[in-house]
Symmetry: D2
Subunit: 320 residues, 4 copies
C-alpha cells in the first residue's frame, strides 16, 4: 500500500557506516517499505568525489539504483580538510580494492541542496530526511529555501554530542566539528525539529562486540555482506586496536528513521545550539539544561534510548 | 556597439546610497553604455521585503525596468537584525511617503544567488558584479556553484575596512559586520579577486560638502533627483548633525565599476581575510601587511585612490 | 598529637555554602583536628568587602578566630560583576539582618595571595588548600610564586563541570564562569593536582531533602545553627521554589578535604583545561576523554563519588 | 636640584632596543637628571633569566648599578613562548659572545610587581613608569594593588597598534601579542592613563637610515657604544635584509618619558582596549573612533607625533 511506503532522502558522506546505513535503507526499498527519493552527497569522511563513488558502489552492492546528487565539496566556511584518524581510509571505504569504477553519468546535475528542498516541496509532509554526514547540504538547502523544512514528515540527524565530549576534538563530534556553522543553521532554523542521534547515544547504546561483528554479521554471505566486510576491514582493525568494541553510528539514525516505533524507546525535547568560537569547544553541541529557564524554546528532539535488539535485527536483516 | 556595452549584476540592500548607485548604473543603461542583467536583493540596510520594494521604486524613478531577484532574507548565520543608526530609516529609503506600491509580480522567482551564477555562466568573461550590500547572496552563489566566479569580467565590493576602524562597531564596517561569514567566503573563495571599495576609502576620498549636496546636486529637477532628495532627507539631517559632510559609499563602487579608467587612480593587491571571532573585531577585514611574508597569496585588489571629480561628474550626470 | 592536626587554608567567597563549609572546618578546629592557617577572601558570590564581613560573622558564630586576609576584588580580567540569581542575597549572606558589625581591624594587611604562598612555604608539605570561590587569589598566588604549589599537602577545589552543563551560564559553573582565566591558570599551573569537587558531583550526590534541611539540620539549636538558618532563609525559599531539593556545594569540598578517607570513595585522574573563548562555553571545564590520547598529561583528580552519609554526619556534627 | 631629578621605573624584556633605551635612561642618571628606582625584568624578547642577565650586562656597559628585580617568567595565561623572528637572538642580546657572567646576587629578592607598587607608594606622584616589554609585571602589580597607579607621575608604554596591523601576527604588535590579558588589564585598570608609543608611531616616525646607524651612531667609541654595536649586529643584518631601515622602538618610549616637552609634539586621548579572542586579532589594540560615541571614556594618551631630531640627539648623547 503506497501510503505505507516511506519516502526518504539520505544525505551522507559515505563513509563505511554511511554505507551500512544505506544498505539498511535499501533493504527497506527491496521490501517495498520505503522509497529513496534521493541520496545526496556531502564532503565529510572523505572528499565529495569519493563520496559520490562510494554511494554508487554501495547501491551497486545492493543492486538497487536510486537518484544520486552531488552537494557541497567544502564546509560553509573554509576548505575541506580530511580530519581525524583514518578509520574510513583515504577514500572513505577503507581503501579497499575494487575492479570497476561506477558510472558517474547516473548522478543528477541538480545541486543536492536544491534537490532536497524541491523533493520535499513535491512531497509535502511525506519525506523523512536522514542526515548522516556534516550538515552543509542541509544548511544550504535551508539558506536557499528557508521554509521547506516545515514540509518534512520527519528529520533525523546523526551528529552532535550531549556532554561536551567529542571524538574528533576534545569537545566536538565529527559531523558537527566538520561544519559547525552548518550544524548551527540546521538546528536553529529547521522548522521541523530534528531528532538527534548523538555521539553519546551511539557510544553507549549502539556498541556490539567485535565477535558479533565478525562471527554473526560477518558470516553473512550475500553480496552486500561481502561488500561491507571488505570496506570495513580497516575500521575493524582500528576498533580492535583502540576500543575493543564495534560501534554503530549512521546505522542508528537510519534504523530510528525507518522504524521509530521499535527503535526509539525514549526521546526528549531540548533547546540546542552549536558553539562556533572556542579554542576547545568549536563544534560542540550546546544543550540548555539549567532549571528556571522556563521561556526556552525547544528546537530538537534528543533520542535518549534505543532498543538495541531492534537495531541489531534490522542490521542483520539488511545483510540477508 | 554591443561589444562596448557593459553587462552588470548589482547585488544590493537598498538603502539610500544603493538607490543613488543604482540610478548611476541606470544612467549608463539609458545612455546605451551598460546593460543590467539583474538587480539582486539582499537583506542589509533594511529587511529583504523592503529592499525589493526599494529597488523597484528606484527603477521606477528612472523609468527603466531591469530584472529583479530576491535573495537572502538572513545572514548566513543567525537571523536578520537591523543594525545601527537609522540613517536609512526603518524601510531603507528614509521612511519617505509614497502614494503607490510597486508591482511585485515583476520580481523573478529564481533565487538571486542562482541567478547570479547562471547569468555569469551565460555571459562568460563579460559580467561585472557589483556588491553594495552584505555578501550573503554572493557567498551563497559561490557555495552553490564554486567555479562561476572565474568567469566574471570584474567584481567590485563596497565593504570592509583597512585599519580596524569601523562605522557600525568599533572595528567593523556595516556590510562586513552584517554577515562576516559571507564576507570571508567571498574574499577567500572568489576566483576573480574583488576590487574593494572600503570604508577607509569612502570616508577619506568620497566626502562632499552638504552645501554641494543641497545646492548643486539637490537643485536638479529631474524625476530621479526629486526621488533621491525625498529618500535622503532623513540621512542628510543625520549627516548634518553628526558629521558635517556628505559621504558617498555604494556610489563609489558603481562609479568605479562603470568607469574604472577614470575613477580608480590607484589600486594595489592585498591578502585579505575577515575576522569571525573576536569580542571587538568580528567582521573586521584583515590585511596582511607584515614584511617578510613573501609567500602570501593576494586575493583582493584594494582601491587606494579615486578621482573625486570623475565620481562627482558621474553622479551629477545621473541626475540630469 | 600535633602531627595529626591538619593545616588548612580556606580561600572562599562567602556565600552561605562557604559559611557552612567554614563552620565545618572550624568544628574540626574546636575538636583539635585541624588548624586554619588562614581564611583568604575573594570576590565571587558577593563583593570582596562583603565576603570579609561574612567570614568574620561566620567565625563569630563559632566563636573561633583564625587569621583572615583580603584578596582580589575583581577577576583577573575585567571588573567584578555580581552574577546570577540572588540565592546568596546582595550581601552574600541572604541579606539577613545583623545587629552588629564585625571588627575589621583583625583582618591582616598582607594580600591573600601572598599569604597563601608564604604559609605554604612556611609549612612545606603540610598545608591543605581548599578553594570554594573563584580562583582569582589562587591564580595570583601562582603568578607571584609559581613553585609554591609543589609544597602543598593537598588541594581541593569546588568548581568546574564535567559535561558542559552549567548553573550560571548554559555551559559554565559559577566559580569557573566568574574567573575563567584564573581557573585555567590554576588547573594548568598548579604543581599539586587539585582534587575537583565539580558541579556534576554536587548536583547528583550531595542532594538532601528540604525536609532534612529544615527538620533535621534545621532543628539544631546551637549558635552556629541559628546563624546558618538565618542566612540560609532566602536560599531555602529559592531551593523550594525552583528545585525541591537542598544541594550542598562548598560543604562537599571541605568535607572531602577534612576527611578524604571517608568522604571520597572514588576519584580518577584527568587532563583538564578551561575554555576562555566561546559564545556559549566560556568558563566550561574541558575534559579530555578521547581514546587514543596516550600522551595526555593528567593534571587534576576528579572526585567521582562521595559517601553521602559521611558528608551528612560531618554537617550534623558541625552544628552540634 | 633634587626636585628636578626624575624618578624612573623601567619595566623591560631586554632585548637590544630595551638595552639602548636603558642606556639612554642611565645617561640621564650619570648627568644627574634622573634616578632609576628599579629596572624590573619581564619575559618577552627572551626568557626571564636571560632578561635579568641582559639588564645587568647593559648596566655594566654604562658602569652604573641600579636596583634590579625579577618579575614574571610567563604571560598571565599560558607558558612563555619565544615568538617571532630572531632579531634579538636566542638570548635577547643578539647571541653576542661575552667573556664574563654578571653577578646575579645583586638582583633583589622582592617580586618585580610588588617592587613597582611599593616604590610608587613610597614616592607618591613622583615616579615615571616606563614599560618596554609585555605588560605582565605591570598587570600583576595592578592586580595585587589596584590603586597604586593613581600615584604615578606618568606612565609610558611601548606597545600596541592603532590600525590593526601587526609586526608579530597580522594584527598584533609584539608586546601586546605576548600577553594580551596583561595589556588589557593595564589599559583598562591603570588609574593614570598610559601614554602609548605604538607600533604605528615607531615604524613611521622613528626610522633612521642604516647608514646613520652604522656611520654616525656606530662610530662612537665609548664602552656602551661598543656594547650596543656588538649586541645589535644580528639585528642590523636582519634590518638590512628585510627592511632597509633602522627603526627604534623602546628608545622612543624612554626618550618620550625622559624629555616629553621636546620629544612628544602631538598626543591625543583615546578610548582603547585589547582584543583577547579573534583568530587573527588576538592582541590587537582596539581604538574607538566612531563618531557619535560621546559617552566614551578615554583611558590612554596616544603619542601621535615625535620630534625625531630630539630623539636622535638623545640617542647620540647617550653613547658619548
Ligand atoms: Ca557519516
Ligand atoms: Ca548598501
Ligand atoms: Ca563559594
Ligand atoms: Ca622591549
Amino acid at each position: 500500500d503506497a501510503q505505507n511506503v516511506m519516502k526518504l532522502i539520505i544525505d551522507c558522506d559515505a563513509g563505511v557506516d554511511d554505507a551500512m546505513a544505506l544498505i539498511m535503507a535499501l533493504d527497506y526499498v527491496r521490501k517495498g517499505k520505503a522509497q529513496v527519493l534521493a541520496v545526496t552527497c556531502v564532503q565529510g569522511n572523505t572528499g565529495l568525489d569519493n563520496v559520490v563513488v562510494n554511494v554508487l558502489r554501495t547501491m551497486n552492492a545492493m543492486d538497487i539504483q536510486v537518484p544520486v546528487y552531488r552537494g557541497a565539496k567544502d564546509p560553509l566556511i573554509g576548505p575541506y580538510i580530511r580530519h581525524g584518524p583514518p578509520f574510513h581510509g583515504e577514500d572513505g571505504l577503507g581503501d579497499a580494492h575494487f575492479d570497476t569504477t561506477p558510472d558517474l553519468s547516473v548522478v543528477s546535475s541538480e545541486h543536492a541542496s536544491l534537490a532536497i528542498a524541491r523533493l520535499v516541496r513535491d512531497n509535502p509532509d511525506e519525506v523523512t530526511l536522514i542526515a548522516t554526514g556534516p550538515l552543509t547540504n542541509v544548511a544550504l538547502a535551508i539558506k536557499m529555501d528557508p521554509d521547506f523544512t516545515k514540509l518534512l514528515h520527519s528529520f533525523y540527524i546523526m551528529g552532535g554530542n550531549l556532554n561536551g565530549r567529542g571524538n574528533i576534538t576534545t569537545c566536538a563530534e565529527f559531523n558537527f566539528h566538520n561544519d559547525p556553522e552548518a550544524a548551527l543553521v540546521t538546528l536553529t532554523e529547521s522548522l521541523t525539529p530534528p531528532r538527534m542521534i548523538t555521539f553519546d547515544l551511539c557510544i553507549s547504546q549502539a556498541l556490539f562486540s567485535l565477535d558479533w561483528r565478525k562471527n554473526k554479521l560477518g558470516q553473512k554471505a550475500t553480496r552486500q555482506a561481502r561488500f561491507q566486510n571488505k570496506i570495513e576491514d580497516t575500521l575493524l582493525k582500528a576498533f580492535e586496536k583502540y576500543y575493543g568494541d564495534y560501534s554503530m553510528w549512521d546505522q542508528v539514525a537510519v534504523a530510528a528513521a525507518l522504524n521509530p516505533g521499535q527503535v526509539v524507546t525514549e526521546a526528549s525535547s531540548a533547546c540546542a545550539s552549536v558553539e562556533l568560537a572556542g579554542q576547545h569547544t568549536r563544534g560542540q553541541m550546546i544543550i540548555e539544561s539549567r532549571l528556571r529557564q522556563d521561556d526556552r524554546k525547544n528546537n530538537v528532539v534528543i533520542v535518549d534510548k534505543i532498543d538495541k535488539t531492534a537495531l541489531e535485527n534490522m542490521v542483520l536483516d539488511a545483510f540477508d
